[in-house]
């Protein structure tokens, strides 16, 4: 067994017995994220919004020319049925004081003159929807009420158009009059190939994978801090570095162990996250597994590995020059913040679309290449994706070499003066 594998054996053996670290790094995301999804689904289903319906019109109006009759009572009944079907608790009221009742999330009022205006050819009927600010249930109920009212409005418009065309003896399509211009949409890839909804879902998944890269940085830097500063404080490192092996091998073993921890954390996070998405989409009858590209996951895993290497290499020279774990954690925090900014913006911004004068300085930050490797692969630019992966690999290696070359046993052993 080579020196490096012996050292790695020690690091992994020690880590595998650190049950608290395993729990927080691996098991928590794996268990917590799906639970989070399930709890979210259950809690959302357990917060039925209450909608109060008030019919102030109490009127039925007929337009004999159009041969239509509208009853405010019937409109209220339709609203009642449709909202109840969507799981809302609907109550009928005659009093607008229900607005003051905090248990009521949404108030729908059919005002006086509604039926008359609805049957008219010159007036517009309105329905008053009173929504509560900052109440999630109210927003959901409002959305549902709007959909029902919109459907009613569309149906009534069609009836009116059909009646008018018949009255005028003109052949007319209610669809053509209601929507004289429609948008027809086709989705294509960036190179013009036809794409379906699965491509868009893959893109969404890739965005989440970019975001997940931010998760790998923290456990990796924490592990390297513990491996060097923690060992210094626990007085175990001095005997280790006095062995006849180059210091670089000891540091490489720690970097490798940190990378393994980071990758396990990533796998755990991604599996947990995919389970969460899978459960959520299952509710809507969508099979997520159909949209998972195995090669994308491989690229993500490799990018994670390089991202961890880069993070550790960036933090290492500063960590070893700190007095203790607290100040080392502050240094690692700076690397984590840089990574978070890049990966969060990578979630919402297409980095490859940025103008060159913005992109060029960003290229100096290795995490930019992590984002581009994934984003470019998803849009079909596989060569460019590979190129950024190689740039990331080169940057990781260069940073790591510089970090390890600038270190010596004295810097590790003797804390700098305060």
């Amino acid at each position: 067994m080579s020196d490096l594998s012996t050292l790695l054996w020690k690091e992994l053996l020690d880590l595998s017995r650190d049950y608290k670290a395993i729990l927080t790094t691996v098991l928590l995301p794996l268990i917590l994220l799906p639970i989070l999804g399930l709890v979210g689904i259950v809690l959302v289903s357990q917060q039925p919004a209450t909608v109060a319906l008030i019919d102030e019109d109490h009127c039925e109006s007929t337009n004999s020319m159009l041969n239509i009759t509208i009853s405010s009572r019937r409109v209220a009944e339709i609203l009642y049925e449709e909202l109840s079907k969507k799981g809302f608790k609907v109550i009928e009221s005659n009093d607008t004081s229900v607005v003051d009742d905090p248990l009521v999330d949404l108030v729908v009022i059919i005002p006086r003159g509604f039926a008359t205006n609805a049957t008219s050819l010159s007036s517009t009927a309105s329905v008053l929807v009173i929504k509560r600010a900052n109440v999630q249930a109210s927003a959901m109920a409002e959305q549902a009420a709007r959909e029902v009212i919109s459907w009613l409005s569309y149906s009534l418009a069609r009836v009116k158009i059909d009646a008018l065309s018949k009255y005028a003896g003109v052949e007319a399509s209610s669809e053509a009059i209601l929507s004289p211009i429609v948008t027809q949409q086709e989705v294509v890839t960036i190179v013009g190939e036809k794409a379906g909804v699965e491509e868009e879902l893959k893109g969404l998944l890739a965005r989440f994978l970019v975001l997940a890269l931010g998760i790998v940085v923290t456990p990796a830097t924490s592990f390297i801090i513990d491996g060097i500063i923690g060992e210094r404080e626990r007085k175990t490192i001095e005997m280790l570095i006095s062995l006849p092996i180059p210091l670089s091998k000891i540091l490489y073993s720690k970097v490798l162990a940190a990378t393994i921890v980071g990758i396990i954390a990533t796998i755990s996070d991604v599996v947990g996250f995919l389970t969460y998405i899978y459960l959520t989409l299952l509710v809507y009858g969508v099979q997520l597994m159909l949209f998972i590209d195995p090669l994308l996951l491989v690229i993500h895993a490799f990018t994670s590995f390089l991202t961890i290497l880069t993070s550790v290499a960036m933090a290492l020279p500063f960590i070893t020059r700190t007095r203790g774990i607290r100040s080392a954690s502050n240094i690692a925090g700076i690397v984590t913040i840089i990574a978070t900014i890049i990966f969060f913006t990578g979630f919402i911004v297409d980095y490859y679309k940025l103008p060159m004068n913005v992109k060029t300085p960003l290229y100096l930050i290795p995490f930019t290449h992590s984002v581009l490797a994934i984003q470019l692969y998803v849009i079909g630019y596989r060569f460019e994706s590979l190129l950024h992966t190689l740039i990331l690999l080169a940057l990781s290696a260069i940073l790591l070499l510089i970090s390890i070359r600038t270190l010596d046993s004295e810097k590790i052993l003797v804390a700098p003066p305060s």
Binding site: T6, L7, L13, K235, T236, M239, S242, P244, V414
Partner: protein, 246 residues
């Protein structure tokens, strides 16, 4: 005592931290089979000197030769001949005593690590506790494990910083016995630092008094006691320190 060649040569070692010379021109030689003691008050520069000999800290001036190898030019080569037990060395609490031995033996002598581990098992005297996690050991057991690790590969140079620190009387006695026997059997050069004057008097062939980073006197314990007209090493040490600060 079997004195042959100088296994350790330390010449004019200087170490400066924050404009302070914590080690200021330390020189001494240790022959194979000899036990050399480095005695001094806290902050005298003992640990920094030992760290420079073990190549962990680079001196600003001076040189260290280990078994004929320039330790500053070839630190990894020099470390092949030496073992170092730091004063406050600790164990990995989640590894067993046996796993500690495996780790060090495989890194130090990969070709015959089993032999080294067997010797370490014997030296440690931990018997059935060797397969328990080291975090569960008492302070004395941890120290015995670490001394066994330092000596199990039979190094030609052993640097032991406060080897009996924290041990009870019986354990200290047995550790001293191990060091003495080891030095004689292996013909190894041993450098120890200690606060225990009884230990120094009975264990060391020669002793150096160190204060403010300088060796203020050096000789066999009997010679030093005679020189300072003292009944024991403790008295000789105090008189030497007082004389140096006058």
């Amino acid at each position: 005592m079997v004195c042959t060649v100088d296994t350790i040569v330390v010449e004019g070692l200087v170490k400066v931290y924050c404009n302070r010379r914590v080690v200021d021109g330390v020189s001494f030689r240790v022959k194979s089979g000899e036990i050399f003691g480095l005695i001094g008050p806290n902050g005298a520069g003992k640990t920094t000197t030992l760290r420079m000999i073990t190549t962990l800290v680079r001196p600003n001036e001076g040189r260290v030769i280990i078994n004929g190898i320039d330790a500053l030019a070839k630190p990894v080569e020099a470390r092949k001949f030496l073992s170092y037990l730091p004063e406050e060395a600790e164990v990995y609490p989640r590894l067993t005593g046996y796993e500690h031995m495996l780790l060090h033996a495989k890194l130090k002598c990969p070709n015959n690590y089993r032999e080294a581990v067997d010797y370490g098992v014997k030296l440690s005297g931990l018997r059935d506790r060797l397969h328990d996690r080291a975090g569960e050991y008492s302070k004395g057991m941890k120290r015995r494990l670490l001394i066994a690790i330092a000596l199990m590969t039979k190094p030609q140079v052993a640097i032991l910083d406060e080897p009996t620190s924290g041990l009870d009387v019986y354990a200290s006695y047995s550790v001293r016995k191990v060091i003495r026997e080891y030095s004689r059997e292996a013909g190894a050069a041993v450098v120890i630092s200690s606060h225990n004057m009884l230990e120094v008097e009975h264990l060391c062939d020669r002793v150096a008094f160190i204060n403010n980073g300088r060796i203020i006197d050096l000789g066999a314990p009997g010679e030093l006691m005679d020189k300072y007209s003292s009944a024991n090493m403790e008295e000789a040490f105090i008189k030497a320190i007082e004389a140096s600060t006058l």
